[in-house]
């Protein structure tokens, strides 16, 4: 059966709506049929943006009073599904998106397809996934009763305004969630970030194990700042505790598609490549000429990053 109703999770952020949610609204709109959004917190203040990207209605869970979103938002969606299930629910791959998807999946007893990078309607939705470091493209679909829950990676689609008018906002109540809903946020810490967000930056400078130790990461940050870019990291140095998970680029981490991706001391393990091989241009510096990153670099320098990186920083400062 072709897709006729799609709901999209419109995740609120400090500055508006998660850009991936807007990408998913555009994708849903392109698939045809009716598109509705589900949001919470400050999300309903952006009914204009949501409408402009194709949503005709926004279901607003409202203020969560400090609860983590996973449980209450999933419970509210489950109740809405009971009143009339859509064909598909599209959810961004984000910290809260996955929580909501997991809770909803278990509540409705329907499976989830995750790490989706493409969607097409072939009389039912067929998803695309990149596996094995992006070397294989796999297509999948659900075989049982819906709704289909899809958790989609950032930058799989382009957010395109459709010219729609402000979406109608309707309140969506949260049913009693008992013990499951007891996790509460007691305070929020915002890390000072100068420069663009990692997944929005036009230039990303990333470091890996080849940096040698945690202190060397400051060179990555310095170069990123000089280039007005964002600093990223391979999983190896995140696992080592040199930088937080929010810097991680890769299969389990962020997907980035900057104009330029500069990789220092990153071997290009398959799990890293899938997060950055969509970059427009790639520059890599690594002392190992056989490093897999060189098979996708537009410019590769086989050499010691402890020489090249400081020299590059100096050269840019003195331009």
């Amino acid at each position: 059966m072709p897709v006729s109703t799609i709901w999209v999770l419109a995740e609120p952020t400090a500055s508006g709506i998660n850009s991936t949610s807007l990408e998913l609204l555009s994708a849903a709109h392109a698939l045809g049929g009716s598109v509705e959004a589900i949001t919470w917190g400050t999300g309903s203040q952006h009914a204009g943006t949501l409408g402009a990207h194709g949503a005709t209605r926004v279901h607003d869970v409202g203020d969560l009073a400090g609860s983590l979103p996973g449980v209450p938002v999933a419970a509210a969606i489950a109740q809405l599904v009971a009143a009339g299930a859509p064909d598909a629910i599209l959810i961004p791959t984000s910290y809260d998106g996955r929580d909501i998807a997991g809770r909803l999946s278990a509540k409705l007893d329907v499976p989830v397809l995750t790490n989706v990078v493409g969607l097409r309607d072939e009389g039912g939705l067929v998803t695309s996934h990149a596996v094995f470091g992006g070397s294989l493209d796999v297509a999948a679909k659900f075989t049982g009763q819906g709704p289909g829950i899809y958790v989609v990676r950032a930058k799989s689609f382009v957010a395109e305004p459709t010219g729609g008018s402000t979406a109608e906002v309707v309140a969506l109540a949260v049913p009693d969630t008992g013990a499951t809903g007891l996790a509460t946020i007691t305070s929020s810490h915002v890390e000072e970030r100068t420069g663009p967000a990692l997944d929005e930056a036009a230039i990303v400078v990333s470091g890996g194990r080849g940096l040698g130790d945690a202190s060397a990461y400051s060179m990555i940050e310095e170069l990123a700042k000089l280039l007005n870019g964002a600093a990223g990291a391979s999983r190896a140095i995140v696992d080592a505790g040199w930088v937080p998970y929010s810097h991680q680029v890769g299969q389990t981490g962020k997907t980035v598609k900057p104009s330029v991706y500069l990789a220092f001391g990153i071997s290009g393990a398959t799990q890293h490549l899938v997060g950055m091989k969509g970059s427009k241009t790639i520059v890599a510096v690594n002392k190992d000429q056989d490093a897999p990153i060189f098979s996708i670099a537009d410019l590769g320098i086989v050499g010691d990053l402890h020489k090249v990186l400081p020299a590059l920083i100096d050269a840019l400062k003195n331009r």
Partner: protein, 258 residues
């Protein structure tokens, strides 16, 4: 305090991965090892039990072919026992099915807290622990970069896009941990020897009463095609002879990045 850690035994990431012909699901017939991501959960559990002054760490795992190698690694770190669900009927089980299996297995143990990694290295759906929490009727906190237990409350620093949130949650609960939450210990020789005789309770799908809800059929999804992805070619690769930085500057200028 008793802590359950859900751990996964995965195909060795150093070996080339493969898909099973037919179903095109991940081939798990080769060597399996403890997922690196789970070392953090096991270590966190051991430290929490230690701080609490008593209790045990129990591992719960679903694996093919009665595999225990990864469990022995975690038992060598100091976990007390394991529950292993292994059964040919589990082949092709998806995340939700796995959560059902783990939920049934966990209910055979005593626990105040369940820990898991945020996602596995091979499947990386990132949904199983939260599905598990829902099935057990428990609250959950994911992406913990710091975990402390204070009486019957767990206090977590939870990673966010902008930084982190401080979250409190009553026990029992499910918490998923990121790498870097603790530094995992290396098993000692004594630990490795002791692990050999620690109990591993092996159960089947029938033992858990989950016939028909797991495996390929239970997953209610299928792979419809597999194709090699478009390869992205390489450009110019040169050896640095002192001009590496200059070459990069020239390149960035040529593409108008600077």
């Amino acid at each position: 305090m008793n802590v359950v850690v859900c751990v996964k035994q995965i195909p060795d990431p150093a070996a080339p991965p493969a898909l099973e012909p037919g179903s095109n699901t991940l081939d798990r017939s080769g060597k399996l090892i403890l997922d690196d991501s789970d070392a953090y959960g096991v270590e966190m559990a051991l430290q929490l039990v230690d701080t609490a002054g008593g209790g045990e760490v129990t591992l719960v795992s679903m694996a093919p072919n009665g595999e225990t190698a990864g469990l022995r690694t975690a038992l060598a770190m100091g976990a007390a026992r394991a529950v292993l669900v292994s059964d040919p009927m589990l082949k092709g089980t998806d995340a939700l099915g796995t959560a059902k299996v783990l939920a049934a297995a966990v209910q055979r143990t005593q626990f105040d807290l369940i820990l898991a990694a945020t996602e596995s290295t091979d499947g990386y759906t990132g949904t199983t622990p939260v599905q598990l929490a829902e099935l057990l009727g428990l609250p959950s906190v994911t992406f913990a970069k710091s975990v402390a237990v204070d009486g019957m409350t767990v206090r977590v620093e939870r990673q966010t896009e902008a930084g982190f949130d401080e979250v409190t949650c009553p026990l029992p609960a499910v918490v998923t941990v990121t790498a870097g939450v603790v530094e995992p210990r290396y098993p000692s020789f004594k630990g490795i020897m002791a692990a050999k005789s620690k109990p591993v309770d092996q159960v089947t799908v029938a033992d858990l009463g989950l016939d028909g809800q797991v495996g390929q059929a239970g997953a209610r999804q299928e792979i419809t095609s597999v194709a090699a992805a478009e390869a992205r070619g390489a450009g110019e690769i040169v050896v640095d002879d002192g001009d590496g930085a200059a070459r990069i500057v020239t390149y960035l200028e040529s593409i108008k990045a600077i």
